[in-house]
């Protein structure tokens, strides 16, 4: 409900929206509704048992108090507080999208909506030529040929090291993202899933749901099979050539994205925006559903951001969840 400009809604729209949201609320499980805490609330525990105090808790005069606004979660004897609407909190193995803010010694600093910038080491990137080798001083000088400032990159959280949060790019599908849009949503709307990379073949674009609330919608790029080509340049490590002024016409032509695809990218982006305004979880299925909905209603891309469509989406979602529940 947050962030929706209620004034822009007509009276009937307002009513419809409220009804839909109410319905949704009634559908949601009530398990944790009484477990929400704010900062300095004490958490009821059985002091006879040994308890483990996890994230978001602290010991104050023998009482366990919350240091976060959120939901109290319990796993066996472990108690921790899951923040409600906070910045992104990285976990090992998360897929994140970020923006390069700085190129420094052997590493890029990447903004990922965390309390500090993440570090992407040069050595944590696969070399563009696919050769396995130690990084040289030459490579270091040419780091900008891989990522420059303001590039959007996709990576995996590797873990905390002594000097901060480290990212890594395991394979070729990680790395620089281009030919698309970056959207930022509150991180809690993106749930951790098995798959965060999606390729929507029918529309011809890629969707990457970063756990940090950065979402990428962009032209589909075929994952390169780097096996064959590197056979040839095996033993002669290529020196990376800076291609700073490679933005000539030819390059542009190569980077040209078809209009049709671009339209779909925009549709998907708007779908994410609608979901973010409504505060709905963002998953592949829902985004697909909204794109289809907008197409079936014959809406223009910009019309997807209208208040009417927003209400329709809310209603549809309420309906969908209701039928899901019934089916169960």
């Amino acid at each position: 409900m947050r962030g929706i400009d209620l004034a822009a809604l007509s009276k009937t729209q307002k009513l419809r929206l409220e009804k839909a949201l109410e319905e949704l609320e009634s559908l949601s499980s009530k398990v944790n509704s009484d477990a929400s805490v704010t900062i300095a609330d004490s958490i009821a525990v059985n002091h006879e048992d040994a308890i483990l105090k996890g994230h978001g808790t602290a010991d104050l005069n023998g009482e366990v108090v919350a240091t976060l606004c959120g939901i109290v979660e319990r796993v066996n004897k472990l108690i921790y507080v899951r923040g409600l609407r906070s910045r992104y909190k990285p976990e090992v193995g998360d897929i994140v999208i970020g923006r390069v803010v700085e190129v420094v010694q052997k590493r890029w600093k990447v903004e990922i909506n965390y309390s500090q910038d993440a570090i992407l080491m040069l050595s944590s990137m696969n070399m563009p030529d696919g050769v396995q080798r130690r990084r040289t001083a030459m490579d270091e000088l040419n780091m900008r040929s891989i990522f420059e400032e303001k590039d959007v990159v996709c990576a995996e959280v590797r873990g905390f090291q002594h000097d901060g949060l480290h990212l890594q790019a395991r394979s070729q599908k990680y790395g620089k993202l281009k030919g698309g849009q970056l959207l930022t949503v509150p991180p809690y709307l993106v749930k951790r899933q098995k798959q965060h990379f999606h390729h929507l073949e029918e529309y011809g674009f890629d969707l990457i749901l970063g756990c940090n609330g950065f979402i990428w919608v962009g032209e589909h790029i075929e994952a390169k099979d780097d096996m064959v080509e590197d056979q040839v340049n095996q033993s002669e490590p290529q020196v990376l050539l800076p291609n700073k002024n490679a933005t000539n016409l030819e390059e542009q032509e190569k980077n040209y994205t078809e209009l049709e695809t671009r339209k779909y990218i925009c549709r998907a982006a708007n779908a994410v925006r609608v979901l973010s305004t409504l505060g709905f979880n963002i998953t592949l299925e829902i985004i697909k559903g909204i794109i289809e909905l907008s197409l079936s209603l014959n809406l223009d891309i910009h019309e997807m951001l209208s208040s009417e469509f927003c209400v329709v989406v809310a209603e549809k979602e309420a309906e969908r969840r209701k039928s899901n529940k019934r089916r169960r």
């Binding site: 193995g93 890594q168 096996m227």
Partner: protein, 1004 residues
């Protein structure tokens, strides 16, 4: 070309070897496995010229297999080198390292054992200097170009996606045949499958017959060519001798050309076994004692052996035995011997004490108990002991002394046979059987090869000598298998662990199914498929080739026959049951017997049982060993009947007698044989007088003659009168009546059957039976085919995932949850039980020392029989641990139980999946809790050694592993944000990490 060169150089420096070499013309076999659809790149001229300069030159001329392997490396392609330990595989490894350093690439060298890693680190450090070491215990220069590590470390580096994985161009897996290790082998498979796609491999392995298969797998998984260089070549040829127990000579059984000498083998065995058969058992028991104690003051065999070896100048010698205790015991028997001169003694003392100087004064006291007082004098006389129970430092001192040639006679366990080049002139096997966890078994050909590989020092000895001490009568084939046996093939020992599944699930690309699909296990299973299909096809063809006319009615008839037969058997069993028949088995009763059929395999359905007659002498109850005799009713017990009949007695080669019952008119001697009651076919109503004394042959012959007469007389009258079951024997059970009525009905059916009258009925039935057997065979092969086409371990993976879900480690969408993330970190102990303990807050309340003591249960596996129970508070903790373990095991059992129901198809897999709750709980052993508690409290090591009777080395290894587990727990606590617990684990590490337990290796 190169092999030719080698030969000429050999000719020059050693005339003797030429003769030997001329008959093995192929010094090495080279082969390449290409992945499917691989295009061989055209060699680039320019590139080739660049590579003219070798990365490393060696001061000696290379063996053909070495230069072959190196040329593969220069091409930038993976290679698998399979050769004997002494052949010099290390050359290939060092070349790969040199090449990588030249190309500014990283290279990783992994070995299965920490000690071996330490030694290799020292070796490579001398050669290349840019070398680092990472084992669980120590990390040195992790940024070096060449990293030496254990395979486990490499695996966890890959799971953690260390930047090293992106820089490594070459990965060297030493002793890769460790992959067949039941417990740890899976680590190699994981590591190889997960290795970076663009890296190249060097596999060094003992000789394995299926090296090609392994290379095919690597080629397939990594889509790159993989070369195989295989050689059987030994730089020094071996002679194999037998030393029979109690004897005093050596018998050459395999000469240096590899010829097995049957005659001298027989001689050896004959001198071993005394004439009598019956006391074989006693003999071998005596032998065991003889080995240990010596017979009444005589010299023990082992003493004689060593004396002989020294006299013949076959030293230095390594004597392998299969237990640590035996090793020490044997060494103690050498106390009287002195093999070293004064100068050598001084040297030994110098080396020994300079090594011991590393230890603190308190720790120096430690070896006092058994070692400095016992060991040093022993060492000074040139006798050493080497096994995993020794203090690591002492073990290393002994290795160094051995390499220096100061130890002439080393008693070692199998562990000495792998790793660094430490050859002797002679190798002795003090036993030919080893205990492999469940039972004693003969050592395999592969193990024999591995251990005998220590015999013969290159460039010093003309040939190596291998002596096998045999204590039991071995079949020549067993012995042949051992001394001339093929190497063990490299088979996958893949199995799933929770840690593996969770780690795979955690990463976006990871997928446990993928790992399974790429495993060597799956590869080997898939490989069997075409073979199985072919088998099915040939069998089916064979089946079709059997054409039978009127098959349906014949089948009908066959079924009837079968029924008739089984009914007859039923009736027979009733009639011959002890309850009915015993009273008629008086001495002299004439009974008919089944002859022992000459060929057991002949299908018996249509052959009439051959019957003969005999006289009952007596009968007796078969004594069952376990049960109480009184509790069995006479009717239920089994009986044997002694019958006088005609037999043929044969003796086979080994003197085992076999008695065959033959028809009375055949040739043979009259003899009283014991047969089970059921072998008696029918009981006649006749009795014949038997003389009192049957011992003289004549008496028996006469009696049988009388029997024959009686029989022929009654045959004239129309058959021998038999006891009628109903009238004479008064059998009135309804089962009997029913069965006999059905037999009658069936017999009337036979009459009506047309086909029965066909003249070729017997042949036809035979054909039909063959056909049915083929069908059954095809069916069973098809079943195995089905199991192997399915993804191996698929069901187990499902079950394990279910366990993870139930325990809340992962969601149904395979997303790893908080608990799962903790379990991900724990790879050195049982991850589920440990995680559960942690989440149940068990670690929270207890003191640090108690925590350490509790964790010791996770790392200790040896069984100690009379271990003292730990004190109460520790025992209480242990009970808590057991409860948790039981819960975990119970849950696993439940989850897998579903599995067993839903897929009744995979019969073998079910068995694998079932876990025994109690044995799982018992796998946590509290034996060293007290000792570790004391260590954590700050006791000196010699003090805690007084508490337990375990070997020092074992305890040290356990504490080191405990530290590993603690390090993993620190990471785990960090990931759930429990800072107090994290601090507690840190404190625990600082408490145990001190003094002798973590003393650095001498090799560093």
């Amino acid at each position: 070309m190169s092999s030719l060169k080698r030969k000429t150089s050999e000719e020059e420096d050693n005339g003797r070897q030429v003769i030997q070499r001329s008959d093995d013309t192929v010094a090495c076999v080279h082969d390449v496995s290409y992945p499917d659809g691989y295009v061989i790149p055209v060699p680039n001229q320019q590139q080739q010229q660049q590579q003219q300069q070798p990365a490393k030159t060696f001061p000696f001329s290379l063996d053909p297999f070495q230069s072959q392997a190196i040329s593969c490396l220069e091409k930038g392609e993976s290679v698998m080198v399979s050769a004997h330990t002494s052949a010099g595989k290390t050359v290939v490894a060092s070349y790969a390292i040199a090449m990588s350093i030249r190309n500014a690439q990283r290279v990783i060298y992994t070995s299965p054992i920490k000690a071996l890693s330490n030694q290799k680190y020292r070796d490579f450090k001398e050669q290349f200097s840019d070398v680092g070491l990472m084992t669980g215990d120590v990390t040195i220069d992790p940024n070096a170009s060449c990293l030496v590590m254990t395979t486990e470390i490499w695996r966890s580096m890959q799971y953690n996606a260390s930047p090293v994985t992106r820089e490594v161009a070459w990965i060297i897996f030493d002793e890769v045949h460790y992959m067949r290790d039941r417990e740890r082998g899976v680590v190699w498979e994981e590591s190889i499958v997960m290795s970076p796609k663009n890296s190249r491999f060097v596999f060094l392995s003992a000789t394995v017959p299926n090296a090609k298969e392994f290379a095919d797998w690597v080629a397939k998984v990594h889509q790159q060519p993989c070369h195989i260089v295989y050689t059987d070549y030994r730089p020094t040829p071996l002679q194999h001798y037998l030393f029979p127990s109690g004897g005093d000579g050596l018998y050459l059984v395999v000469d240096e050309k590899g010829k097995f000498r049957e005659d001298s083998f027989q001689k050896a065995l004959n001198s071993l076994v005394p004439a009598g058969e019956g006391d074989r058992k006693r003999e071998s028991a005596k032998w065991q004692k003889g080995l240990m104690l010596g017979r009444g003051g005589e010299e023990t065999d082992i003493f004689k052996m060593v004396k002989m070896i020294i006299q013949r100048q076959y030293d230095p010698v390594i004597l392998f035995s299969f237990s640590k205790r035996e090793c020490e015991f044997l060494a103690m028997q050498m106390a009287k011997m002195d093999l070293n001169g004064d100068e050598e003694k001084d040297n030994i003392e110098k080396i020994f004490w300079s090594a011991m100087d590393m230890l603190s004064d308190d720790d120096k006291k430690l070896p006092q108990a058994s070692y400095v007082s016992n060991m040093l004098p022993l060492l000074k006389r040139g006798i050493g002991v080497h096994h995993s129970g020794l203090l690591p430092i002492l073990k290393e001192v002994i290795e160094i002394l051995f390499q220096e040639g100061l130890i002439k006679c080393l008693f070692a366990t199998e562990t000495f046979s792998i790793g660094l080049n430490m050859p002797a002139k002679t190798v002795v096997f003090t036993n030919v059987r080893k205990f492999d966890g469940d039972k004693f078994r003969w050592i395999s050909g592969g193990e024999y090869i591995q251990m005998s590989g220590r015999a013969g020092r290159r460039g010093i000895d003309e040939r190596g000598i291998c002596i096998l001490m045999v204590d039991e009568k071995m079949e020549p084939s067993t012995a042949k298998m051992m001394v001339k046996g093929a190497a063990d093939s490299l088979n996958s020992a893949f199995h799933l662990t929770y840690n593996m599944i969770l780690n795979q699930m955690r990463s976006e690309d990871g997928n446990p199914e993928n790992l399974l699909r790429n495993s060597f296990y799956q590869f080997q299973a898939d490989r069997a498929i075409p073979d199985l299909e072919k088998q099915i096809k040939t069998l089916e063809k064979e089946r079709e080739s059997i054409v039978i006319e009127e098959e349906d009615s014949l089948k009908d008839y066959h079924d009837l026959l079968e029924q008739h037969r089984s009914l007859n058997k039923e009736v027979h069993d009733i009639v011959m049951s002890p309850m009915h028949s015993l009273i008629y088995l008086q001495p002299g009763r004439l009974v008919s017997l089944q002859c022992t059929s000459s060929d057991v395999d002949v299908p018996t359905i249509f052959t009439e049982d051959q019957l003969t007659w005999g006289l009952v002498i007596s009968f007796e109850k078969v004594k069952s060993v376990s049960e109480d005799d009184a509790s069995i009713k006479p009717e239920d017990a089994k009986y044997n009947v002694d019958v006088l009949t005609r037999c043929v007695v044969r003796k086979d080669k080994l003197g085992k007698k076999s008695v065959k019952i033959v028809p009375l008119k055949d040739v043979g001697e009259p003899r009283v044989v014991t047969v089970p009651l059921l072998q008696i076919n029918t009981i006649s109503s006749l009795r014949v007088y038997i003389p009192k004394d049957l011992l003289p042959l004549e008496a028996r012959e006469n009696t049988l003659k009388k029997v024959l007469q009686t029989l022929s007389r009654s045959n004239e009258k129309g058959g021998v009168p038999l006891l009628d079951p109903e009238e004479d024997m008064k059998i009135k059970s309804s089962v009997y009546k029913k069965a006999s009525r059905r037999i009658e009905a069936l017999e009337s059916l036979f009459e009506r059957h047309e086909i029965a009258k066909s003249p070729l009925i017997k042949q036809k039935l035979k054909a039909l039976q063959m056909k049915q057997e083929l069908t059954a065979k095809i069916k069973s092969i098809k079943r195995t085919l089905k199991t192997s086409t399915a993804l191996a371990f698929k069901d187990e993976l499902k079950a394990r995932k279910r366990v993870l879900r139930r325990l809340g480690y992962a969601t149904s969408d395979n997303v790893v949850e908080l608990k799962g993330k903790v379990a991900c970190e724990i790879s050195s102990a049982d991850e589920l039980t440990l995680t559960e303990l942690m989440f149940n807050g068990v670690f929270k309340d207890i003191k640090v020392e108690e925590l350490i003591s509790l964790l010791s249960c996770f790392v200790w596996q040896e069984k100690i029989h009379d271990a003292a129970k730990p004190r109460e508070e520790l025992d209480l903790l242990f009970v808590q641990l057991q409860d948790t373990a039981r819960r975990v095991a119970q849950l696993q059992l439940e989850c897998k139980f579903y599995n067993a129901i839903t897929s009744s198809f995979f019969l073998d897999h079910e068995k694998q999946v079932q876990i025994d709750v109690e044995s799982f709980v018992k796998s946590f052993r509290p034996d060293i809790m007290e000792a570790v508690y004391a260590w954590a409290k700050g006791s000196k090591f010699y003090e805690i050694m007084e508490i337990t009777q375990v070997f020092e080395g074992s305890l040290i290894r356990a504490i080191r592993r405990l530290e590993e587990v603690l390090q993993q727990l620190i990471l785990a606590a960090k990931s759930i944000g429990e800072t107090q617990l994290e601090a507690k684990f840190e404190e625990a590490v600082s408490k145990i990490k001190r003094d002798i337990v973590f003393a650095a290796s001498l090799y560093l």
